[in-house]
Symmetry: C2
Subunit: 501 residues, 2 copies
């Protein structure tokens, strides 16, 4: 078999697997947005069938033969990237024995149900035994996948290629060194926002939705190639780049929850819409990593969507949308409330400044579990101690603490750090974008929002998986991933708001 | 291989094929209800992939071996029915050569696009060449499938097992003999409804939807196992009996369109929800035929939903729902308008009395095309002549005539007669139901609607494919399918409304 033929067949097989994943995405989206309650039993069969089909196709020994035949040749950068990623996919899929894959599927279904009940009754001991099984499973998986410096590296690499524990340790230390004193200054500052600004006001859902659509359309989300719906847990998915689906949740008392959530998801969605159509179905038409994906959602939500020039344009529209309910609100009080900082227990409700402290707790726990330095039974105590140390508060219950996140029940150890990476990448990208577009703020204040997406399209979306994540960041910003821009960004925005005393 | 093992593996394979069809149904529903416009290209790939996968699984030679092994034994009625239908499915799927199946897929995609353009410009000559290809395809398919008396029988049998041209000829002659004079009396009657009853009124969509949900929930559609959405062309589908999806379309000026459409689709939907869960995935858990399916939608829409006792209960709710807009409407004027009879050009807008005349035109044309007694080029002339003869009107354009239906562009010759069969079955079933439930009208007038569905569940839904369609009707009503009950029903209702002069 000549290398070109092998490559062409790999493209074809990659597109078939992509099509199966498309159908899976749609089926899962429907389950969360539309499915009537009784549909759940058969839906599980549909999902299991698609997962099994995808796994079969991904581990077909023919792919191994094709890779071996194609890898012998020298390829231009794009094809070489496809081959590199196909190899990675194939090795990851085939290194895990069938028995382990089946074991995982059953385990996380049970674990998720147990976690839901345990969280509802705030009873960590009910969750601990099966969490122990999940930790053991992840340990086995890491050993099958292989690692060099330490076991947790294998889990990190699944979600963010090349990311290591050592890197995370260094970054989180640097972040903590900057964020801890910033947070102390904020908490002690007399310049606190008026938390009762919206007291008594009601924000009708259809108006919230119209505003969310208008804002995200202006940022560049293409509603001819996507939709916005409501769901309990906001997320973004979709069968292809031309059909990307955002969901959000509405709170009639708090207009920020849906709006900022919609912008966040639209950041993911614009990345999804931004790949080159001719590469769809191959790695060149995929996003580079979870961290990069989160960089796009965080960038549009926070770096853009919580900035003064952005609201210089949108605040009048906000007032007009909600009319009498916000008649008394002025732009400065609005902006300060939007950027309120306050240590809280729940990660998904955290502000920008405290967010990475929440992640740090989870990272350290996962790392120590994989090092066998921590027993599952000790998790609540360790969790609460770290929250006290990093955020100055102790969760009153495990429900507000160690039981709050769904991730561990799904066996997703190694995932949390990509959230923090997203914030770091976002700030680095913003700094580079501003070097390329010095009048960005003036454009936004004038209602022109195209520049940010245009730059991201070229630098981040269209390359797909041409580069590994760290290379892509270097390619786009001139620097390897580093926390400096993020620290400067955070310190700048919140010192302006809360003062520097 | 022993027969029981073979049977068990057939059950398993049947469930796998059912799961693929579930995923197909959901993907198709989403395309018509949710998909953003740009999603269409990749959606076609997803649908094609699922169709190909389903076809592969349905024609696996292993099924032939298993059938041969199982058919040697004697089976109880249920298992025998499963084997009979698996055999039918397998033979139908494998008798059509792969090349013909592929040819059909490409042909109908092109034909549908050409038909849409031809209908828009009312240009039959633009559609004629590809319609000729479709007629040729159907002829080839009929010959592959096999037939005895005449070719068109093979097409009828695809949609309604055992239905023959000779039977249709006899029924349609009998129907026409009764309906033609009835229609003449109606058209000439001085007792015409007030067509301007709703002039100037507006019917808000959310209220129409709430009323449609309330009515169909009262009839027995389970919204915990289904949904109601809007789409351009109303239909019912869904991945399984516990997730059945109705769609309807709303007209702000005409409250009957959505309401009666919703009841019609709920009739289909309740059949879908009514199979025995333990048989789902096998023929015993499937509806018996398209004609039987249509009997359920027609029964709830017309026999029940256009009856006086039904509206004795619902009319006050209708008035309350739309308030001032219908303040002046009394129940008699309402009921007469709901049952207005008037020859019109468009089948999907036809009333009960003229409906089967529309079908008759299509049946005769399809039959004559398969007999080579009619050339495609002559269709508009023949169509218009038959409309003049049967309905007393001549379509002013082909758009209002021979180009109005989508079916031929999809290659669905042999399908239309199942619509008429549905009306005939519905009347026969109503007569039997009334024998079993003499106080049906009193129950409905008192707001109790459970009896009709309970009877259909037992007689029609739960048997699944235990019996062939004609046997099932006989089992439920004591008589083979016959037009007498339908003629009596139609004559009774419309003579009461329009008088007998």
């Amino acid at each position: 078999m000549n290398p070109q033929q092998a490559y062409d067949e790999l493209v074809q097989r990659s597109q078939e697997i992509f099509t199966i994943h498309s159908i899976e995405s749609l089926t899962s989206w429907d389950q969360q947005v539309n499915m009537p309650p009784k549909g759940v039993t058969h839906r599980a069969r549909m999902m299991a069938y698609l997962a099994q089909l995808g796994h079969q196709k991904s581990t077909d020994p023919r792919i191994g033969e094709l890779l071996a035949a194609a890898e012998g040749a020298t390829w231009p950068i794009g094809q070489a990237a496809n081959l590199r990623e196909w190899r990675r996919d194939y090795d990851q899929a085939t290194r895990l024995p069938e028995a382990l894959v089946t074991h995982r599927a059953g385990l996380i279904t049970r674990a998720n149900a147990i976690w839901q009940a345990a969280r509802a009754s705030s009873d960590f001991r009910a969750f601990a035994p099966i969490l122990g099984e999940i930790v053991a499973l992840c340990r086995d998986e890491a050993d099958c996948l292989g690692w060099q410096a330490e076991r947790y590296d294998a889990l990190l690499d699944r979600f963010e290629p090349d990311l290591t524990t050592a890197q995370c340790d260094a970054w989180f230390a640097e972040l903590r060194g900057a964020v801890a004193p910033l947070l102390q200054r904020i908490v002690a500052s007399p310049l606190q926002p008026d938390k009762n600004l919206f007291r008594g006001a009601t924000f009708p859902r259809n108006r919230q939705q119209a505003l969310g659509r208008a804002v995200t359309a202006a940022l560049g989300f293409d509603y001819q190639a996507g939709r916005l719906d409501a769901s309990t847990h906001p997320f973004t998915t979709g069968p292809c780049s031309q059909d990307v689906r955002l969901t959000t949740r509405y709170n009639a008392k708090d207009p920020f929850q849906a709006l900022m959530g919609t912008i966040h998801e639209a950041g993911h969605g614009m990345y999804g819409q931004g790949v080159r159509l001719e590469h769809e179905g191959a790695p060149l038409g995929r996003s580079a990593s979870l961290g990069l994906h989160e960089s796009q959602s965080r960038f549009f939500e926070n770096n853009i969507g919580r900035s003064r020039p952005f609201w210089a344009y949108w605040f009048p529209r906000f007032k007009k949308t909600f009319g009498r309910a916000v008649h008394h609100v002025d732009s400065e009080a609005f902006y300060r409330l939007l950027n309120k900082v306050e240590p809280t227990f729940i990660r998904v409700e955290a502000d920008e400044v405290t967010y990475n402290l929440h992640i740090m707790v989870r990272f350290e726990i996962e790392r120590d579990l994989m090092r066998d330095d921590l027993a599952v039974a000790d998790l609540p105590a360790v969790w609460n101690a770290r929250y006290q140390e990093y955020l100055g508060i102790t969760p009153p219950t495990d429900r507000d603490g160690v039981l709050q996140d769904i991730h561990w029940s799904w066996g997703l150890l190694g995932y949390f750090p990509t959230y923090s990476l997203g914030t770091v990448y976002a700030a680095q990208l913003e700094a580079a974008l501003r070097r390329a577009t010095p009048d960005l703020d003036a454009q936004m204040a004038a209602g022109e929002f195209g520049a940010a997406l245009a730059w991201m399209r070229e630098q981040i979306h269209q390359p797909g998986m041409t580069y590994r994540p760290a290379e892509l960041i270097e390619h786009a910003t001139g620097q390897r991933p580093a926390a400096a821009d993020y620290i400067a960004y955070l310190t700048g925005r919140y010192t302006e708001l809360y003062g520097d005393q």
